[in-house]
């Protein structure tokens, strides 16, 4: 889904968000399984609808009462009594669905179809096959002392005839049924999106006409949940066309920032409100993420080989598509010299495309005056990590937080002393320019 594999969907928090989304009807659940990117007009309509459907929940019990009757509506055989019971139940429930005026979602009245399965108009939810002839057959059947097989036969024959007639009449409404099921699905899913936005605090994003991806006070409910008691720093970022490099120490939150950006960008493109105070998201053709957590890429390649294959595919795609590309620690498994060179090369190459590309890396030598550069704020005097991203000059020195982190997580003193000694030796022999 959305070009992400199952592991990535899990780690960025997409699965978490989608599981929290609970449509009431089988039609809404169907829609949830087939989420996709929407075009601009559909997105604006969807966002308008979400706003309109906030706190609209009086029809939820009716939506929950609906059953999936697609099988009965589309089957070619004559409908059975049970099929018609379900259609009648659907139509009686459908009649109770009064909805506000929405964009692109409307329900067509089905009173004609209901009249076919509920000729008496009593709206009783049970169903008996009826006709004047059946009435007289049953009257006789009740009078008879013993079961008369002939009467039973007559009853079955007449029931079959009536069922065939009803099937034929209902067939004329098939398109309306299918259209309404589709619209109920959209309505239900949009109501679920509105509830989710309220429950988890999401806001309407602005669809950017510029090639700028920007979030103010962005969060990620999944990561917030995993951190439990630790509060997650809200992130402020703006990525322009071309390359942005995020540098920072291990454990510094580069990954978290990148995942959150990917999550919120995807959500926006699929017509969800986003977890940010403000957001500006352009209409990407696709979102590509290459990260450590990818599923085994297979084909007998090492993880490095797999990563490069994916990178190659993404680079090719930028020729035709406007993409958001998130590279989380590319070439991490390689030696530092080659690794940094590869990342520089990738950045230089992608810089020529019109896509927006963000690279999180701990190779500091990748930055360049041509690239935007963010650093993780890092450890503060209080001894806590500040995960916020701070824009930095391309030649800003890397924050040296690794040792502080070692200390924070309680590395034993002897080990820490040995590491400190090595660090001091290293800085003495390899003095940076």
């Amino acid at each position: 889904m959305f070009g992400l594999d199952a592991v990535q969907r899990e780690t960025i928090g997409l699965n978490y968000v989608l599981t929290r989304l609970e449509p009431d009807s089988p039609y809404g659940r169907e829609k949830l399984k087939h989420l996709s990117f929407l075009d601009q007009a559909a997105l604006e309509a969807c966002f308008d609808n979400i706003e309109k459907l906030m706190d609209f929940d009086e029809i939820r019990p009716h939506l929950a009462a609906l059953k999936n009757i697609r099988g009965s509506i589309t089957k070619t055989e004559t409908l059975t009594q049970v099929d018609i019971f379900e259609i009648k139940h659907f139509l009686i429930t459908f009649e109770k669905l009064h909805i506000p005026e929405l964009k692109g979602i409307s329900l067509q009245p089905m009173s004609d179809a209901l009249a076919i399965v509920d000729p008496s108009g009593l709206r009783i939810a049970t169903y008996t096959v009826e006709s004047p002839m059946l009435y007289s057959i049953r009257k006789e059947k009740l009078r008879a002392e013993i079961i008369d097989p002939l009467l039973v036969e007559q009853e079955v024959a007449e029931e079959t005839r009536v069922l065939q007639e009803i099937t034929k009449k209902l067939r004329k409404h098939t398109a309306t049924f299918l259209s309404n099921m589709n619209n109920i699905g959209e309505l239900d899913l949009t109501m679920a999106k509105a509830r989710l936005a309220q429950e988890l605090g999401a806001a309407r994003p602005i669809l950017s006409k510029r090639e700028v991806l920007s979030f103010k006070e962005m969060g990620n409910p999944y990561i917030a949940e995993t951190l439990k008691n630790h509060s997650l720093t809200k992130i402020f970022v703006t990525f322009d066309k071309g390359i942005t490099i995020i540098t920072g120490a291990n454990m510094g939150g580069k990954s978290v920032a990148l995942k959150s950006v990917v999550l919120n960008t995807l959500l926006c493109r699929a017509g969800f409100f986003v977890f940010a105070q403000e957001a500006e998201v352009p209409l990407f053709d696709g979102v590509c993420m290459i990260s450590e957590e990818m599923e085994d890429i297979g084909q007998g390649l090492s993880s490095f080989g797999g990563e490069m294959t994916r990178l190659n595919e993404v680079a090719l795609r930028t020729k035709s598509d406007f993409l958001f590309i998130a590279l989380d620690e590319p070439a991490r498994g390689t030696n530092p010299e080659e690794g940094a060179a590869i990342v520089r090369g990738v950045a230089n190459h992608l810089a020529t495309s019109s896509s927006i590309c963000v690279i999180a890396t701990h190779y500091n030598q990748v930055t360049s005056p041509r690239f935007k550069h963010y650093q993780v704020a890092g450890l503060k005097g209080t001894g806590y990590m500040d995960y916020n991203l701070v824009e930095a000059r391309h030649d800003a020195p890397p924050p040296k937080d690794a040792l502080k982190i070692c200390k924070l997580i309680g590395l034993n003193k002897d080990l820490l002393a040995k590491i400190n000694k090595e660090v001091n030796n290293d800085t003495n022999t390899n003095i940076r320019p």
Partner: protein
């Protein structure tokens, strides 16, 4: 006291059989005739329901107008009552979903309810009335632990030898009547209790099973356990209220009705009825 009188205090009554043709349908029909307004379903008789569709099972249950039945979708055409569909449940069987139907006329019905006991709990709220009869499976295994009372049906179809039928029936009655164990120091067996339990059990020990349906030991093993002074008990006892007997069988010449009734009554402590007269 007649069988219906005996069963009148109970709301949910399960009828199970020792073998095919042991009189389950006769017993059901007898109770329906006596109680009139009942709800009906079956449990775990998938195989039998398939027999119904293929025409190998001719047993039919006669119900009166206003009876509510829960049966599988594909068995509806085989019911000759006039039908009002009340509900369609989410319970699936090999013969389609279980639907709730009210009889608008008297007539014969075919029952194909849930396959497993757990689904009966979902189904019971759909069934109205103060008498619910459940057509249980043929075989004593597992599905008996439903309802407020159980009626066991046995008969000549079980074996050409009356002695054997009585011995095995008495065995099942004894197992079904096992008490709840209240004391300390016992061995709890959470799953099925099989004949292998005999090995490794010491004299005078106590075995506790979840319910009588889980105890699948043979009568020989049961006798040996008794000889070892081993106590068998359960956590959830059953109320086996009565036994019905069918002295006739389509497979053999059957037994003498009076002789069978007398010997069966001597063998068990619960009331025995011959409804096949």
């Amino acid at each position: 006291m007649s069988l219906p009188e005996l069963l009148s205090p109970y709301r949910v009554i399960t009828i199970i059989g020792m073998a095919k043709n042991s009189g389950k349908t006769t017993t059901l029909n007898h109770l329906i005739k006596a109680f009139r307004q009942v709800s009906l379903t079956s449990i775990g008789r998938d195989g039998e329901s398939v027999d119904v569709v293929t025409g190998t099972d001719k047993s039919r249950i006669f119900v009166y107008k206003n009876t509510v039945i829960a049966t599988a979708e594909k068995l509806l055409p085989l019911c000759d009552i006039s039908k009002e569909i009340l509900d369609v449940t989410g319970i699936s069987t090999p013969l389609g979903r279980v639907v709730i139907v009210r009889a608008l006329s008297d007539g014969f019905v075919q029952l194909g309810g849930p396959s497993i006991a757990a689904q009966i709990a979902d189904l019971l709220p759909h069934l109205p009335g103060d008498k619910i009869l459940i057509d249980g499976a043929v075989s004593r295994k597992t599905q008996a632990n439903i309802g407020d009372a159980v009626v066991l049906c046995t008969g000549a179809s079980f074996s050409p030898s009356m002695v054997e039928t009585i011995r095995e029936t008495r065995h099942i009655v004894e197992i079904f009547n096992l008490h709840k164990f209240e004391g300390k120091n016992y061995i709890y067996i959470p799953g099925a209790v099989m004949d292998s339990v005999l090995h490794g059990i010491k004299e005078g020990e106590t075995i506790v099973a979840e319910d009588p349906g889980k105890i699948l030991i043979s009568s020989t093993t049961y006798d040996r356990l008794r000889a070892k002074k081993v106590t068998l008990a359960v956590r959830t006892p059953l109320r086996l209220a009565a036994l019905t007997i069918n002295p006739t069988s389509p497979y053999n010449t059957g037994y003498s009705p009076n002789d069978f009734l007398e010997k069966m009554q001597e063998a068990v402590t619960i009331p025995v009825y011959n409804l096949h007269q």
